[in-house]
Symmetry: C2
Subunit: 454 residues, 2 copies
């Protein structure tokens, strides 16, 4: 945990900025796996972690904006709980380490909230058990989250402090080892699941959880591919998109793509270097005042230019990007915010996090998936993750519609049916005059990767 | 998956035995981790797996008891889903491999169920999202699960077929490796989490999930201890309670306790051998017609006799067991059913699974936690998991109350403050004339364990 002062300061800023009513921050409960007492992994709510750092189930926090004081609601363990589950620090001690002024048992939350006629602010819910709990607490009163609370939380969580950057870098340290392990242990004839299991096992051995389910696949063109059933073969590429959490549950989100054999083919090198150049161009665009939409479009243009050089695309690169023709090969956004969530604050509303009045979301295929478009600000942490993919379903669909045929040489794509996809992803912080790649260096160039795999 | 005939037969038996109304079997959905699209591990509902074997989210099955026919409700992926998540077998193909007669899109489930005035049977819910979904499907009609359905499902799932035994044994094969790995890699100075992570990683590398969260601890006296933060020291015992699932999600549930140093102390050997003898005595009691309550009490008496020999307990062993004095050291039940759930069918009601008219649940401390008490039947699969623990909180409480002081030499317990606990657990099937320990042999005697760790 951070210091009690850190959490107290965060809550005070929030209370002052919101300046009316009571703020309810709900901690998460355990979720049953296949019957009531066999649980899935416990993951605390990120907003709850941000404002009090307490990593236990069944807690709730109320901030009174008029007094600025906070009350923690929770129950101490019974002797029976202790016999079965072991001791746990007391609710009073939890409050103390988090700088919370008062504690009350959980069954007083409802009357505490409903006792005054003040507005009750709360954040959007993403699990049904949260919804059911909230309805019970509010006696089925109007259930609607608070836009003003959302905006204030986003404003605070968007700017990362040095302490938060250290957490993210601690996550990336473990992630670096996960990626090197994957490169070293991958070879012809190995099942994807063997490597995926080693990656997750490595995180767990180090007391870490994953920030999101491992993507480890020779079918990298499937963007969120969570199957690990293929046997890997020489000639294929393996795409590893995986990241550990820090001890305080800050995320890392790193992707590397490397050849199963340890040596890239010439064709793989050509595509890889285009993606590498997309990422470098995007990095250069990362500074305060530049919009991330423009970084995305800049990387897209590099993609088109590279693909024109290879005879895959044709025509004028600017026009191709304007029409969205590159999205056949780069159908997702350049990146997103990163913090306590891997898609940071996505639960608060993607548009509120990544867009503002000047940056409306496009409805063009590809650009529509860009999660972060607005102007960058010092302290933002974000992913830079360009990719080029050859997606048979998408190619067939576009070809059948003759879509963007002025820019795409469909006949050239036959040899890419089994190519897969390449993505390179790193995490950066926006500094006063540019950016800094977070964490230790993870092999990224063709030579660096081939060296690790040699 | 098993054959379509297997699932068809199971559904036909259920429809015939229930003989009225429609049976709704709800598949599970994904549960968000920290925002809507970042998910916890997907685990299909066990009853759904039992009756159709389909391991995908957002499916529902309705069995019409009058026609005996089944309808699968689900939606095929869109092209957008396929681009992001990859292809998936079609709903029609799912129905075919499971022997299901009809398919309909998910949005027709409600009208299909409410269209007739027949009773709708469903099973108890254990996740809030199931409750919310069901309320939406039934238009907030009366929400109450069906006792007759529960009883018929328990009756079918309680008797394991050869195919099911093979699955459980396949789970135990991986679990054996997990346990040997833990024994070999444990030594002075290693963190518990290092071994716990290796255990889980090993399962994942083999494409398996865990049947329940790993218990791996030097504080084995905390019965469900999921913390792994201690550094292990020579002289301590490590308790490893962990089990992989089979490919079809059948559970295994194995516990071994071993010395961190690789060599038991004399005191540890004395307690270990009592627990070993408890398990052997319980095995001998495992045959059709014997009650598991009696097996529990038999093991308890062995515990008392052993502890009397060591000067920890005193008096008449039968009287001590009758009073429940042994429960200070053996506070949990001897075992439980095992199958698609590690506590098999616990979500259907522990008493309905483990008790019958002749076997009411005791309210005596210790015996009250016995999950399985009724007479054993050929085909039952269950755990046999005696243990002896020295639980400081419980000892202090009993001592302060002078509880069972005719049977307990409280003064003798001072040297056991840091002893921890020992549990030995295996999985057995009840045969026509006795029992069979399932799976390959996992080192269990003191000599076998010391040999593996040498």
């Amino acid at each position: 945990m951070f210091s009690s002062k850190t959490y107290n300061d965060r809550r005070e800023v929030l209370a002052k900025n919101l300046n009316n009513g009571k703020i309810l921050l709900m901690g998460n409960s355990q979720v049953p796996m296949n019957y009531p007492s066999n649980w899935l992994r416990f993951r605390q709510d990120s907003n709850f972690l941000y404002y009090c750092g307490l990593d236990y189930p069944d807690l709730n926090l109320v901030i009174d904006t008029s007094s600025g004081e906070s009350t923690l609601f929770g129950n101490d363990l019974t002797i029976q709980d202790i016999v079965w589950e072991g001791e746990r620090t007391s609710i009073a001690n939890m409050a103390e380490v988090s700088g919370i002024q008062s504690v009350l048992p959980s069954n007083q939350l409802s009357s505490f909230l409903l006792g005054s006629n003040e507005t009750i602010h709360y954040l959007p819910l993403y699990r049904q058990d949260q919804q059911v709990f909230l309805e019970s607490i509010l006696n089925n009163n109007k259930i609607e989250s608070s836009k003003s609370l959302i905006i204030n939380v986003i404003s605070q969580r968007s700017i990362k402090t040095e302490d938060e950057l250290s957490e993210i870098e601690s996550a990336i340290e473990v992630t670096m080892d996960m990626h090197k392990l994957a490169m070293r242990q991958t070879s012809d004839g190995i099942l994807e699941q063997t490597i995926a299991g080693k990656i997750e096992g490595y995180a767990l051995q180090n007391g870490r959880e994953l920030a999101y389910p491992v993507i480890f696949t020779t079918r990298g063109e499937i963007l969120h591919n969570h199957n690990h059933n293929n046997i890997m073969c020489s000639g294929q590429l393996a795409l590893n998109d995986s990241g550990a959490e820090s001890p305080m549950h800050y995320a890392s989100d790193i992707t590397r793509t490397f050849p199963v054999s340890g040596r890239f083919t010439d064709l793989q090198k050509e595509i890889y270097n285009i993606v590498y150049n997309m990422q470098e161009a995007a990095f250069d665009y990362c500074k305060p005042g530049n919009s991330y939409r423009q970084a995305h479009l800049t990387a897209s243009k590099i993609a088109v230019e590279g693909l024109i050089n290879m005879g895959i695309m044709k025509g004028n690169a600017d026009d191709a990007v304007k029409e969205g023709a590159h999205a056949l090969f780069f159908p997702h956004g350049l990146g997103h915010m990163l913090g306590l969530d891997v898609h940071d604050m996505e639960g608060l509303g993607e548009d509120l996090v990544g867009y503002n009045e000047e940056s409306n979301r496009s409805n063009q295929f590809g650009l529509a998936y860009l999660r972060l478009a607005k102007e960058l600000v010092e302290g933002f942490v974000l992913t830079v993750e360009p990719g080029i993919y050859f997606i048979p379903h998408l190619i067939n669909q576009w070809k059948a519609e003759n879509k963007s045929s002025a820019f795409i040489n469909y006949d050239s794509l036959n040899k890419f049916v089994d190519f897969g996809g390449i993505r390179i992803e790193d995490n950066v912080v926006i500094t006063s005059d540019g950016y800094r790649i977070l964490g230790p260096h993870i092999p990224r160039t063709i030579n660096e990767i081939e060296d690790v795999m040699a």
